[in-house]
């Protein structure tokens, strides 16, 4: 089983976590036309490369961010949501 390192709880089996999907830009609902809004709702990008994802450590209910390579499935780093999200 894969390990995921929680910034608060340390490395844990990934079945202690719940994924909340990639961090996405949220378009201004009042300034977005219906087709773009539908796209935002239903179209997942899923491009090759590195994504920043929300994860929840379920036993402690701690939410944090993880950078993950979608090709190799390598988790590059995990960090608290208060830290800068851009890649170094």
């Amino acid at each position: 089983m894969k390990l995921l390192t929680c910034p608060m709880n340390g490395p844990r089996n990934i079945d202690e976590f719940q994924s909340f999907g990639p961090v996405r830009a949220r378009p201004d609902p009042n300034a977005t036309a219906d087709p773009e809004w539908s796209r935002h709702l239903f179209r997942a990008e899923n491009r090759q490369g590195v994504v920043v994802e929300w994860w929840r450590h379920v036993p402690s209910n701690y939410f944090f961010l993880a950078e993950r390579d979608l090709v190799s499935n390598e988790i590059i780093r995990t960090f608290d949501a208060s830290e800068p999200r851009g890649r170094a």
Partner: protein, 193 residues
């Protein structure tokens, strides 16, 4: 809300939700501390208020001591005081908290929401290995460490006590948890038979 005068009933007491479910004893021993005093604060202001009372706060997922109480830091603003045998000390803290003005955090109601069981016995390590996926070898998990993890397939907080491991978990799952520990104890007996 002032403290009530009615009788409190916890799961393993007569009339409690897990009444009739036996706590295993033998090579693995499970004992119930749910009725023991504890008090938790959570939310903005909790840490500052407790610190202002002179209660030293450990780092997150570590345990501190204060006047015989254990101070469990479950999050930046999520602190639980366990007062096994020192209920009066805790009562003073609670009285002060109720009388204080905000910001002082909010009650986390852990004394109502979490059962508090203690696992011990000669086959303790084997039992914990059956219940929990974490590496709890003494050199990896010390007496002041807290693990927020799964024990017996449910979310739980666990840490070492002199006798073994203390486990805090959803009080409504008390009967299930006691059965799970009993099953693990049975398997240990069979495996070593």
């Amino acid at each position: 809300m002032a403290a009530g005068t009615a009788t409190r009933i916890y799961p393993f007491m007569p009339g409690g939700a897990a009444d009739g479910i036996k706590l295993v004893s033998g090579a693995v021993v499970l004992s119930d501390l749910t009725a023991s005093p504890r008090f938790g604060l959570k939310g903005c202001g909790s840490a500052a208020w407790l610190a202002a009372q002179g209660i030293p706060l450990p780092a997150v997922n570590r345990i501190g001591k204060h006047h015989g109480m254990q101070v469990l830091r479950l999050g930046n603003e999520d602190i639980l005081l366990l007062a096994e045998g020192v209920g009066e000390t805790l009562a003073e803290v609670k009285t002060a908290w109720h009388a204080a003005t905000a910001p002082k955090g909010y009650s986390s109601w852990r004394e109502e929401g979490w059962a508090w069981l203690r696992l011990s016995g000669p086959r303790l390590a084997e039992a914990m290995n059956g219940l929990c996926a974490l590496d709890l070898r003494p050199e990896k998990f010390g007496p002041d460490d807290i693990a927020q993890t799964r024990v017996g397939h449910i979310e739980a907080v666990t840490f070492r006590s002199p006798a073994g491991f203390d486990i805090l978990f959803d009080i409504t799952a008390s009967a299930y948890f006691a059965r799970s520990v009993a099953a693990v104890a049975t398997h240990i007996d069979q495996h070593n038979a």
